[in-house]
Subunit: 115 residues, 2 copies
DNA sequence: AGACTATGACGTAAACATACGACATATTAT
DNA sequence: ATAATATGTCGTATGTTTACGTCATAGTCT
């Protein structure tokens, strides 16, 4: 009965974890940075710039696409991948809210613990 | 030869992925939110508030601790877990930089692709 | 000391992720 | 039509994560 308790968390928690998971591999971070730096939405060129096989890169691209962080539009023979800036913006807000919430409260002096 | 190419990415990419991975499970997101909301925090209580067994929660706590996002100070019989606000702040900056970079560039009209 | 409690460590089964070669498909070029 | 090219899909080997029960340890209490 493994991996069955995820539904017991809030939608927000699941959403944040979902995006975090998409960013939980350096290759996927690199892909997003690459797409951000290039003006043109390259396709197979991405694979050429990473130290991974084309197949593996394709897999990572699918993963990012399934979360919605990137989009892939077929343009003849090649596929044009680009960032979904709206979602990224939205996710940015979500992460910011999370971090603000997490950093606002400090273990005060009235606590029993020493941290 | 799986999982052997990670070293070929930049330190920044690895660091960001590492933290993202720590947040890639709703339970860990929930734990951080819980620690942020409570002034005092003890491991056993955390398990009580999550739909997971104490053992599993302990495992998630270790994971967060290994990345450095939380700290656990032994206080007699119990362990006092609390957020590492300095690291969280730092990570927040890192994520912000990443998202800003990712959202600044839009696929311009001069491109061939339609996205 | 002996019972009690809070935790972490260990073992483990099932699920998932990673990486990649081989194959399939579809589009362009000759 | 045939060849070349760009991509995705499939299968698969290996490693990692998740979830949890059981046990060990170490601090409290009487």
């Amino acid at each position: 009965m493994t991996h069955a308790k995820i539904s017991h968390f809030t939608t927000d928690q699941q959403q944040l974890a979902r995006v975090a998971k998409a960013l939980a591999h350096p290759a996927r971070v690199a892909i997003i940075q690459l797409l951000a730096s290039k003006k043109t939405c390259i396709s197979g060129d991405i694979a050429a710039e990473l130290p991974l096989s084309r197949t593996t890169v394709s897999q990572h691209l699918q993963e990012l696409k399934s979360v919605g962080l990137i989009r892939g539009d077929i343009d003849g023979l090649t596929v044009c991948y680009c960032l979904n800036t709206e979602l990224l913006e939205q996710v940015h807000q979500q992460f910011t809210a999370f971090f603000v919430e997490a950093t606002s409260t400090t273990c005060g002096p009235e606590d029993a613990c020493a941290c």
